[in-house]
């Protein structure tokens, strides 16, 4: 090994450590009792680790309702997004029709719109139909926010399956519906999984819209619930061990799902520029 390679290796390890440190710190703090966290100097290794903070979070009484809310919203968003996006992706990748280009243009632009550009108006909309502080109200906005990119992702998958495959099955005597269900649909499964996970992550992590539409403490998604701790820390010392345990619980499903679909999501965003 040349000295240059050794130095590059050391730099590489340093970069990796810097980036992972906050994640490590979250897990480390979540395993330590508050007495240790409040002492003069920080403890860098979770020696004498315990899951006390985690059980305190579960016993606190506010975590489970927020978890339930987040799960229900995420499931609604995933189900509706997949259904709507699948149909739309079929339309734009299998048909050439008047208005197709306009639709594609519209979803690409909508996908870029920041939540902050519309959330006051969405708040007023939900207030006028009495859907503030409801699962349905938040879900409707989330579906609309997530469906454009889901359509775009699925479009790529549908276009990747040659229509000839389906036609060949029809020549062999299957009806169009059967050909679709038996031939095309199984090939689409990876695309549906990737898009579904994308929709899940968006709904699970969303903060901005939730902040304006869900204003009661009794209806909170997990991000809003976590925000409560940050607000509390402004005025008094808080139990960081529990907050970190809570954050770990919120992050865990995301990290698992994210690792599964990361590659597909990145290529969806920059596929125009990276070939291969």
């Amino acid at each position: 090994m040349t000295p240059a390679r050794v130095i590059l290796g050391i730099v590489g390890i340093a970069v990796a450590m810097i980036w992972i440190f906050p994640v490590y710190w979250m897990v480390n703090s979540s395993l330590l009792p508050n007495v240790v966290l409040q002492s003069q100097s920080p403890t860098f290794l979770p020696l004498g680790a315990s899951f006390d903070n985690f059980s305190a979070v579960f016993q606190g009484g506010t975590f489970l309702p927020a978890l339930g809310m987040s799960v229900v919203i995420a499931l609604i968003v995933v189900a509706c997004c997949l259904m709507f996006a699948f149909l739309a992706a079929l339309a734009i990748s299998r048909f050439r029709f008047r208005g197709r280009k306009g639709f594609v243009l519209a979803i690409l632009f909508i996908q870029m719109l920041p939540a902050e550009g519309l959330f006051i108006a969405q708040y007023k909309l939900m207030a006028s139909v009495d859907l503030l502080n409801t699962v349905l109200g938040v879900s409707i906005i989330y579906i609309a926010a997530v469906v454009p990119f889901t359509i775009w992702m699925l479009r790529g998958f549908v276009a990747g399956i040659p229509a000839e495959l389906e036609e060949a099955a029809m020549v062999d005597g299957l009806s169009r519906t059967k050909a679709f269900l038996r031939i095309t649909f199984p090939l689409l499964a990876p695309g549906l999984v990737a898009s579904g996970v994308y929709a899940f992550l968006q709904a699970w992590n969303e903060f901005t819209v939730a902040l304006v539409v869900l204003q009661k403490n009794s209806v909170q998604t997990l991000p809003l619930w976590l925000r409560g701790f940050i607000q509390a820390s402004a005025s008094h010392a808080i139990d960081w061990g529990q907050v970190m345990a809570a954050s770990t619980l919120v992050a865990l499903p995301v990290i698992i799902f994210f690792l599964l679909v990361q590659g597909r999501m990145t290529s969806g965003l920059v596929s125009g520029a990276v070939k291969g």
Partner: protein, 320 residues
């Protein structure tokens, strides 16, 4: 409204066989694609289209707290926009947002390029270590990441203050969020930490397109590392760089969650507002919907303007 439409969606799939027209002529007009688009179009019209129209209308009205309680809103034309244009605070917020956006995008791109080059230069073991740590940082939900960063920068027991104090700097009980400059510094670190992984991965994917043989040949012809970077690597990954940069600018212009949560942790909102938090404050704090709508329209127009290039390149991909 939407619930009535959901049951209509699934049968559309069943309707695809079209038994009436058996001849596979390609040019006939089919209504199938339009049926397929109904659910997506309806939900977008309800949750995006209607609010957008409401917002455009409201931005031309004097719509404040009094209108909340039933007073009819007065039409003021471009009045809200003119008021904003002559409001020095609005300009301060725009300037802050643009500066923050450029700073964050520039630092992110710079570090992203360096990390991508580093991943290419090191052996596979270290590369995988870098990739895993970047993936974990990238995967962190933004609010969970914010609680961790708040804990890291906590003025009482935060690690950052502890490290700085132990190397002899006067950071005992230093409150990072009180001073707007150090507030933005912390926000910048957090935003960059979250964004670099995406940039590094995309650029690394681009770099794998650069063939090692070409670089070797250039090296034998006497090209310095800098020349190889400038004349071989950069031209090949330029399309990726420009798209990633564009996305960063768009995303950094709309940082809301990070700024809002840092404000929540104890800083004065009016001194640290960027465009997103300013709209939030106008709309929910002071119920000034007319002005809030006008600022929102400004943000939307700005985003659509910057996105146009990105959308064009995506459309090209759609056509291919």
């Amino acid at each position: 409204m939407t619930t009535t439409l959901h049951p209509e969606a699934p049968p559309v799939v069943g309707a695809t066989p079209q038994p009436t027209l058996r001849t596979p002529r390609k040019r006939r007009i089919s209504f199938t694609p339009y049926f397929l688009l109904i659910p997506a179009v309806v939900i977008l019209a309800i949750a995006m289209g209607y609010p957008l129209v409401w917002q455009i209308v409201t931005s031309t009205l004097k719509f404040g707290l009094a209108q909340q309680f039933g007073k009819p809103a007065e039409f003021v034309g471009l009045g809200n926009y003119l008021t904003l244009a002559s409001d020095p605070y609005m300009w301060t917020v725009i300037l802050r947002s643009v500066l923050f956006c450029f700073a964050a995008a520039a630092v992110t791109m710079g570090l992203g390029v360096l990390v991508a080059l580093l991943m290419r230069a090191v052996g596979s073991v270290i590369r995988i270590i870098i990739q895993i740590s970047m993936l974990l940082a990238w995967a962190m939900p933004v609010v969970a990441a914010m609680t961790v960063w708040n804990w890291l920068f906590d003025w009482r027991r935060g690690v950052v203050n502890w490290v700085l104090t132990s190397v002899g700097l006067p950071f005992q009980n230093h409150n990072w969020l009180q001073n707007p400059v150090s507030f933005y510094f912390v926000a910048l670190i957090i935003v960059v930490w979250m964004s670099v992984p995406f940039v590094a991965f995309s650029l690394y994917a681009g770099l794998t397109q650069v063939s090692g043989e070409v670089l070797e040949a250039a090296q034998m012809d006497g090209a310095t590392p800098r020349q190889r970077f400038q004349f071989i690597i950069v031209p090949i990954i330029r399309p990726v760089i420009s798209i990633v940069l564009l996305l960063q600018v768009i995303w950094d212009l709309r940082v809301f969650t990070q700024i809002k949560l840092l404000q929540d942790a104890g800083s004065i909102a009016s001194e640290t507002n960027l465009l997103g938090t300013y709209i939030y404050q106008l709309g929910t704090g002071s119920s000034n919907f007319g002005t809030a709508s006008a600022v929102s329209i400004f943000v939307l127009v700005l985003t659509v303007g910057i996105s146009a290039f990105y959308v064009r390149s995506m459309l090209k991909e759609d056509e291919s």
